[in-house]
C-alpha cells in the first residue's frame, strides 16, 4: 500500500476540520451573517434579502445549513460573487492557472538549484565563495518575497524597461506570457531555493561524517562522485519533506508576488476580494488553496516512500 491507513485518516480529518472552519467563521463572526456570506458590496431591498436568506438556507437550523454546506462542496457549488457577478468556482478556476504557472516552475527550479548548490556548499571546504553564497541565500531567506518583487519591479521594469510593468492579458502568445512571468518566477524560485539550500547544506554537513562516506572514500571514489552517488540521496530526504511542508508557505508567497506584478492569478483575486469585502470569493479561495496544499502533502508522502524504501517497510 502506498499510504498507511493512519496517514490517510489524518488527511481526511485535516480536510474535515479546515472545511468546517470555513463553515463556522462567516457564521459566528461579528456582523450580519447575510453580509458575511454575500459580501459588503451587496445592497438589496428587504424583500430580496428575505428571499436570499431562504435560498441560502439561513432560515434553517445550523445543523441543516452544515449538511447543505457539505452537499454544496461535493457538487462544487461554492456560492455566487455579487461583486464579480459570476459563480465563485468559475472565477477561481479562471484565475488558478496563472498562480500554478508561477508556482510550479518556481518550486521545481528552486528545488533543483537549492539542493545542488546546498549539497556543494556543505561538501566543499568553507572558502570565501562558499561563504558568500551562503550569505546571499540567507539574505533572500530573510526577505519577504513581495519586497524582492517591489525592488525587481523597480530596477528591471521601471528603471531599465527590460520587462513589462504590469500583468498580462489572456490572449498573449507564449513568448509574451514568458516575458511577463520571468521576473515573478525568478523571485519565487530564488526564494524557494534559499530555503532548500539551508536545509540541504545542513543535511550534507551531517551525512558526510557518516561511516559509509569513509567507506566510499576507502573504496577509491573521488570527491564529487561520493557526494552525488552516495550522500545526495540520503541528504535530500529532509529536503523532500521540506518541499511538501513549504508548499503552503510558497503558495502564500506567490500570492503576494502576484499582487506586486498585477498578475491575473488567485493572489490578485484575494486582494480584490479583500478590498471589496467579497466574502464568498475569499472563502472559495481558502477552500481551493486548502485542497491544493493537502494534495501536495499527499504526493510528497507517496514520493517519499518511493525514494526511501525504509518508510514503506515501516508502514
Amino acid at each position: 500500500m502506498l499510504l498507511s491507513k493512519k496517514k490517510a485518516l489524518r488527511y481526511l480529518i485535516a480536510l474535515f476540520i479546515i472545511f468546517t472552519l470555513n463553515f463556522i467563521i462567516p457564521r459566528t463572526m461579528p456582523g450580519d451573517p447575510i453580509t458575511n456570506l454575500l459580501g459588503e458590496n451587496f445592497i438589496a431591498s428587504e424583500a430580496t434579502i428575505q428571499e436570499l436568506k431562504i435560498e441560502l438556507g439561513l432560515d434553517k437550523s445550523l445543523s441543516f445549513q452544515y449538511l447543505d454546506y457539505w452537499k454544496d462542496i461535493f457538487t462544487l457549488h461554492l456560492g455566487y460573487s455579487y461583486h464579480f457577478n459570476q459563480k465563485v468556482i468559475s472565477i477561481i478556476f479562471m484565475r488558478m492557472k496563472w498562480t500554478l504557472a508561477l508556482l510550479f516552475p518556481s518550486i521545481l527550479l528552486g528545488a533543483i538549484l537549492g539542493t545542488l548548490l546546498g549539497a556543494l556548499s556543505g561538501w566543499k571546504k568553507n572558502n570565501l565563495g562558499n561563504k558568500a553564497t551562503t550569505w546571499a541565500f540567507l539574505a533572500v531567506y530573510s526577505s519577504p518575497p513581495y519586497f524582492l518583487g517591489i525592488i525587481f519591479l523597480y530596477v528591471f521594469s521601471f528603471k531599465w524597461g527590460l520587462f513589462p510593468f504590469k500583468g498580462f492579458y489572456e490572449t498573449g502568445t507564449f513568448l509574451d506570457v514568458l516575458q511577463h512571468l520571468f521576473l515573478p518566477i525568478l523571485i519565487m524560485s530564488t526564494f524557494a531555493a534559499s530555503r532548500n539550500y539551508m536545509i540541504m547544506r545542513g543535511s550534507v554537513l551531517i551525512e558526510k561524517e557518516k561511516l559509509y562516506v569513509v567507506y566510499a572514500r576507502a573504496k577509491g571514489l573521488y570527491g564529487n562522485s561520493i557526494l552525488f552517488r552516495h550522500i545526495f540521496k540520503n541528504a535530500s530526504l529532509p529536503v523532500i519533506t521540506l518541499i511538501a511542508l513549504d508548499f503552503g508557505f510558497l503558495l502564500s508567497g506567490a500570492l503576494f508576488v502576484e499582487i506586486v506584478f498585477s498578475m491575473n492569478g488567485m493572489g490578485t483575486l484575494i486582494y480584490e476580494a479583500l478590498l471589496s469585502r467579497d466574502y464568498p470569493v475569499l472563502q472559495g479561495c481558502f477552500l481551493i488553496i486548502t485542497i491544493m496544499v493537502i494534495a501536495a502533502n499527499f504526493f510528497a508522502d507517496i514520493l517519499y516512500s518511493f525514494i526511501d524504501p525504509r518508510v514503506k517497510e515501516k508502514a
Partner: protein
Amino acid sequence: MLNRFGLVLVVLFVLIAILADIISPHDPWDRFEPYEKPNRNHILGTNDIGNDILSELIHGSRASLIVGIGAAIIATLLGLLVGLFSGYFKGALDEIFMGITDIFLMIPRIPLIIMLAAFLKSSIWLIMLALGLLWWTSTARVVRSRTLQVREMDYVASAKCLGFKNRHIIFSDILPNIFPVVVPKFMLTVATAMISEASLSFLGLGDPSMKSWGLMINFALIKGGLVNEMWWWYLSPGLCIILFVYSIVSLGFSFEERKKVNLR
C-alpha cells in the same frame, strides 16, 4: 564573526524598540509638509500625510518586534509542551498529539489568517495570537524526536529509579537537554512570524492604529512612493525587516551548526 554581527544587530533593534520614544526625532503621528525629500529636519523625508518617516521607522520596530517575538514565544511554548509530553509518554498520547500536529501542518496558515483578519477587526494582538497558535508544529516535531533520544539516556533511567515524578523528570532533567534544539527553532519562528506580519500588513490587514514596517511599505506603494521614485520611503522599512530577520536567522543557523560540532 557572522554570529557576533547578528547578535549586535538583534540587541540594537531591541534597544531601538524599547527607547523609541526617546530617540525618535519627532512624534510619528505629527504632521508636517507631505512628500518631503530627505533633508536636515527629516532625514528620511515625510510620507503622504506628512509623518516623519524616520520616526515612523523607529516606532514601527515596536509592532514588528512584538508580533515576531510574541508569536514565537507562544509557538515555542506550545511546541515544547506537545513535543515533550508526546516524546516522553509515547503510546496513545503520542499518537493523538502527533496526529494533531500533522493536521495543523496541513492548514494553509496565511490564507486562514487572511480570512480571520477580513472578518475581525485587525490588531497586532490578533495577528500575534493567530501566528503563534498556528506555527508551533515544526517545533513540536523537533522537540519530540529529541525527547525520544534523551529519555533513553542513563541519567533519566536513574532518575526514574530514584522515584522522581514524571513532571520533575520532564521539566528538570529532560528540558535542559532539549534547549539546544529549541533555541534555533525559536529564532526561525521569529523570522517567519515577522515576514508573515509584514505580508499581512502589505495586504492592508495590519493594525491601522499602530505603525509597523509592513504597513509602511503598503502605504508607500499605494500612495505613489514607487512611481514617484521616493525610494527612501519604501526601501527603508523593507531593509529594516530584512536586516532584523537576517540577523536573527543567521544567529539561529550558526547556533545549529556549532551545536552539531559540539555533539560530535
